[in-house]
């Protein structure tokens, strides 16, 4: 959590989209920006990008107010995937409330996925977060491409870990909201335990998710 001001009734959360280079983290955020209702969502801020590769990070902020008056801001970040930007990844990962790991489904990218996931575990430890308990969702992106890992195989590999797995084709807007809602849902469960969002602030899980993911078509 970035900050929590009880007096000000204000809570600032951080969700991070992590993953190897070119796996579609920024595309996920762009799609969220386009698909979700304008109300309660800020503008997508793309920071210092050269050649479509995220150098610093992208930021998509959300804002909602609980019935109790608690203001909740959720900042969704992407990190640069390239190996050499490790310091930026560490900086962005600090005090994260949840991580969506965007994996590239292409067979040729398996190695990069593994490397990036190990990097995530290492950096979580570096910033003092527990990789075992932090809300985590894994999205296998680019399902629309040929030569991809079969879904059955992915589920067989990951289901023992209990980490939710989502299939997506971010470019086509498929699975993007699902991934985001899943992550937000787990993050809500974690927060509710500690800050009693439901009991003290009258904000239940479905309302929280509805406010965050209300689509433009609604």
């Amino acid at each position: 959590m970035i900050e929590y001001d009880e007096f000000d009734k204000r809570m600032v959360l951080k969700l991070v989209y992590y993953g190897p280079a070119l796996s579609g983290k920024t595309t996920n955020l762009l799609q969220l920006h386009d698909l979700l209702a304008r109300e309660g969502r800020g503008d997508l801020m793309v920071l210092d990008t050269a050649d479509d590769r995220t150098l610093f990070f992208d930021l998509l902020p959300f804002f909602l107010v609980a019935p109790s008056g608690l203001k909740i801001k959720i900042k969704v970040y992407t990190v640069p995937g390239q190996v050499r930007h490790d310091a930026t990844r560490k900086a962005v990962l600090q005090r994260a409330d949840g991580v969506a790991f965007i994996a590239d489904s292409q067979l040729t990218q398996s190695c990069n996925n593994v490397e990036s996931f190990e990097n995530l575990e290492k950096n979580l430890a570096f910033v003092g977060l527990d990789a075992g308990t932090i809300p985590l969702v894994i999205q296998f992106n680019k399902r629309d491409l040929p030569d991809i890992l079969p879904e059955a195989e992915i589920r067989q590999t990951w289901s023992p870990t209990g980490i939710p797995i989502r299939m997506a084709s971010a470019l086509n807007g498929i699975g993007v909201i699902d991934t985001f809602a899943t992550l937000a849902g787990i993050a809500y469960d974690h927060l509710d335990l500690r800050y009693r969002l439901n009991v003290d602030h009258g904000l239940d899980r479905s309302e929280f998710l509805r406010k965050l993911t209300a689509s433009t078509e609604d």
Partner: protein, 433 residues
């Protein structure tokens, strides 16, 4: 200064909230507001979300004027309000101007925030990389220092190790020497034992035969004394008896045989002590009576002990001590030899043994010249000797020290006021091993 920088970079978290006043400055606002005022607005005021004025310009509320208020959004949240007051008549024109102003402010706000975030992340990343470089540098200098120390001390270290090796080697030599002496002694003892066996057995038989000869002689003599008919024969026999000094021979023969037997007995005892001392057969440890081990050592050294040397044995019964007795004999031998060699005339060596149930205490006190205090703590050092070059190895007390400490014991030397040295050995009866 450096610490402060590190702290700041640690405190800053990407995503930290900024207040409106932090993001937008007077320099950003002024050029935008000026045309609005020129276009006829009475005042322009910007507040934060709690209506605290951040910036204002122009006169306050004027009669017949209307206030237009619009929320300023940032990251989906209302962060401030724009208030424009204008004469009632100008309302619609100024509303459009205010909308334009609001949009301009929003764009500046977003751009400023973006710039701030970029530079802050940049600073964070740079200072974090700097911290990492500092850490790497620190580790490198530590390792460099270690290598430099190593290089500097290499010669000293080599000398130390060489010295240690020399000591170990010479200790081995000493032990090897003792072992071969023991083996030689055992071999000699074995070779002597056989002839010694038949010598004493034959001597015993010889004694019996001598008794028979004497009995036979007595018989002849008595029988002859009654022969008065042959005085001549009696007289010549008496002369022959005297000429051959049979009276003396008769007594002396018995003595000679018994003395020879005594001598053989002594040789037997020495040989068996020699065998016991060398303990060549003992590989394992076994319970030994240290009093008798000291006695064996003294027997072996008997040729070194001159007539005017007085050895006093103050022995108390000792519990058995589990050890390799050959090693402890070596300790005793070295201590006793030291006393014998240092002080040849009128030596008085007092050996005391006692036990308190937990430890065995042995003291070897001599009336020799004693050891000067300045070298007393060096006598157990290897190669330390006060004897003439060639006559001492300087290893005797070192070997003793090693053996005693090997059994978990201690060995000390004291020199009382009146002269002489006292070596005290304490050996724990129950050891950890």
């Amino acid at each position: 200064m450096q610490d402060k920088d590190v702290k700041r970079s640690a405190d800053y978290v990407v995503g930290q909230e900024k207040r409106l006043a932090e993001i937008i400055t007077q320099m950003d606002i002024l050029p935008l507001v000026k045309p609005v005022l020129q276009a006829g607005a009475d005042s322009v005021r910007i507040t934060d979300e709690r209506e605290n004025t951040i910036w204002s310009s122009g006169a306050g509320a004027v009669e017949d004027s209307i206030e237009i208020s619009m929320p300023l959004y940032l990251e989906g949240e209302v962060v401030g309000l724009l208030h424009v007051t204008a004469p009632f008549t100008q309302e619609s024109r100024l509303r459009r101007l205010a909308e334009l102003l609001l949009e301009s402010l929003r764009i500046i706000l977003v751009n400023n925030l973006k710039m701030m975030l970029t530079s802050e992340v940049h600073t964070t990343v740079i200072s974090q990389s700097y911290d990492e470089l500092l850490e790497i540098n620190r580790r490198l200098s530590v390792s460099e220092r270690r290598y430099r120390d190593l290089a500097e001390n290499l010669e000293i270290k080599v000398a130390e190790r060489t010295e240690e090796l020399k000591r170990a080697h010479s200790r081995l030599l000493q032990q090897e020497k003792m072992a071969s002496i023991g083996q030689l002694a055992a071999g000699v003892a074995h070779e002597i034992n056989n002839p010694l066996g038949f010598i004493s057995s034959n001597l015993q038989t010889m004694g019996k035969y001598v008794a028979r000869f004497i009995a036979m002689l007595e018989f002849y003599r008595t029988a002859l004394a009654d022969r008065v008919d042959n005085v001549e024969l009696v007289e010549s026999a008496r002369r022959k008896w005297q000429e051959l000094k049979i009276d003396m021979v008769r007594i002396d023969a018995v003595d000679l045989v018994s003395q020879s037997l005594e001598g053989a007995e002594r040789v037997k005892k020495i040989v068996s002590n020699l065998k016991g001392f060398s303990h060549v057969e003992d590989v394992e440890q076994f319970p030994a009576d240290l009093n008798s081990e000291i006695d064996k050592t003294l027997t072996v050294l008997s040729h070194e002990i001159s007539d005017d040397t007085e050895i006093i044995r103050n022995y108390e019964p000792l519990p058995d001590f589990l050890c390799n007795p050959a090693l402890l004999c070596q300790v005793f031998l070295n201590l006793i030899l030291n006393a014998l060699q240092l002080h040849k005339k009128g030596l008085r060596l007092e050996i005391t043994t006692l036990s308190d149930g937990k430890n065995i205490l042995l003291t070897f006190a001599d009336n020799g010249p004693g050891i000067p205090e300045n070298i007393r703590n060096r006598v157990f050092e290897p190669f330390y000797t006060t004897k003439d070059v060639g006559s001492g190895t300087g290893m005797g007390l070192t070997v003793a020290y090693d053996i005693v400490t090997g059994y978990g014991g201690t060995i000390d030397v004291n020199c009382p006021e009146g002269g002489g040295s006292t070596f005290s050995i304490v050996l724990p009866i129950i050891r950890g091993k």
